[in-house]
Symmetry: none
Subunit: 209 residues, 2 copies
C-alpha cells in the first residue's frame, strides 16, 4: 500500500524519481525548490526531497529561501545519496521532518513517509543513536537537569508542575498544600533561576534557547 496523500517528488535525478513513483498514489515531480511554494499553496504538505542530486558548489537546499518559507507548512522527508550526520542535523534543524538514504529500500522509504506524514519525525538508526551517544556522553545529564540544582526538593516539584503549565491552584491541589505556599515556592524558584515568570521558567526547564 502506498500513501494516499499526494506526494511531491523533488529531484533532478530521473532514475530516482521513477523509483519514488511507487511511494504515493498521486505523485508529482519537480526538479527544483521552486516547486515547494506552489505545492504548499495547492494545499498539499507531503514532499520528499533529494539533497544529493545537486552539484556541490550550489548552496545547500535548506539554506535557500524557497525552503525556509515553506518548510513550516510542509512535511518534508529529506534524502541523501551519501548520508552524513552533519547534513542530517542541518536539514532537521531547518525544518525537515525526516532524513534518510536516497536509495534506501522502497519499504523503508514508505515507512519514513508514513511517519512524517503523521506529523512525527523520522531519523535513521545511525544518526539517532549518535544523537543519543552525544547527549549521554558529552552532557551526561548536565544540560537536562542543570536548572534543578539550586532548588530544594519542594521547589523542584512546584517548578516542574508550573513548567508544564499548571495553575497555582492546580499545583496546590496536586501537592496537598495552599495556593499561597505554591506562590512562596515559586517566588524562590524565580529568584534562584533568575527568571521573572512561569513561562521563562518553562523555557528554562525544557531547555529552550
Amino acid at each position: 500500500m502506498s500513501t494516499p496523500q499526494p506526494l511531491l517528488i523533488l529531484t533532478p535525478d530521473d532514475l530516482l524519481a521513477e523509483r519514488w513513483q511507487a511511494l504515493s498514489a498521486s505523485p508529482i515531480r519537480a526538479v527544483d525548490l521552486g516547486g515547494l511554494a506552489t505545492w504548499r499553496k495547492a494545499g498539499h504538505r507531503l514532499a520528499v526531497i533529494d539533497l544529493g542530486g545537486y552539484p556541490p558548489p550550489a548552496p545547500a537546499p535548506w539554506t535557500q529561501d524557497a525552503w525556509r518559507n515553506n518548510a513550516a507548512d510542509l512535511a518534508i522527508l529529506a534524502t541523501s545519496s551519501r548520508p552524513d550526520d552533519e547534513e542530517g542535523l542541518a536539514v532537521l534543524n531547518a525544518g525537515a521532518c525526516g532524513y534518510c538514504h536516497s536509495h534506501a529500500p522502497i519499504e523503508t522509504l514508505r515507512q519514513a513517509l508514513d511517519v512524517v506524514a503523521s506529523g512525527e519525525l523520522w531519523v535513521g538508526r545511525a544518526l539517532l543513536s549518535r544523537l543519543l551517544r552525544l547527549v549521554d556522553s558529552r552532557l551526561p545529564r548536565a544540560g537536562l537537569t542543570e536548572w534543578a540544582h539550586p532548588l530544594t526538593d519542594r521547589e523542584r516539584e512546584v517548578a516542574h508542575h508550573a513548567a508544564l503549565g499548571e495553575s497555582n491552584i492546580a499545583i496546590a491541589d496536586a501537592l496537598g498544600i495552599t495556593e499561597r505556599t505554591v506562590k512562596a515556592h515559586l517566588k524562590a524558584v524565580f529568584e534562584k533561576l533568575q527568571v521573572t515568570d512561569r513561562l521563562q521558567l518553562a523555557l528554562r526547564v525544557h531547555g529552550v534557547r
Copy 2:
C-alpha cells in the same frame, strides 16, 4: 492491519493490555520483566513495555537484570503514562528501540511498533526535537513547525513571540501594532491550536509533551 509478528505485551495494567491487543495478530500478555527471557528464548523479538505501571519505589525496569540481559536481542518499545525526557533517554540508552506515550492513539503505537520491528528506532517528536536542540544549540528558531499549520502569517509571528515569553506590549512594539491587536491575534491562535494560554502555546511551539 496489525503487525504479523507475535508481540509481548508487558504491563500490570489490565485496561492498557486490552487496548494493546489490537496491535498484533498474536499478542501475549505478561505482567513482569521475567517474561522477557522466556519471550526471547522462544525466538520472538517484539515487545511493548509499560514503564509507568509500576509504583515509584520499585527500581526502574531498565536497570533490572531481566531487562539488561534481553534488551540486546529484543526490539522493545517502551511506553510511559507520563513521558519524561530523562526517562526516555535512560530507556533508549538501556537498549530500548522506542519510547512513547502509553495512551498514545493506537495508530501511533502501531506505527511505532512497525518502525522498531523493522530494526529502526522510534522517538517522539518532543524528545527528538530536544535532542536536536541539545546537540546543535546554535539553531535560532528552526524546525518542528507543525503547529503553524492552521495559522495565518501574522498569527504565526505573534505566536512565535509569545512562545518566547514576550509580553503583549513587547510583541506589539516589535510588530508596530497595538496591544489590543496582539490580543486579537493571540485569541485566534489559542482557538486554532486548542490551548488556553500562552504557556500551553509555548509548550506546543517548542515541542514539549
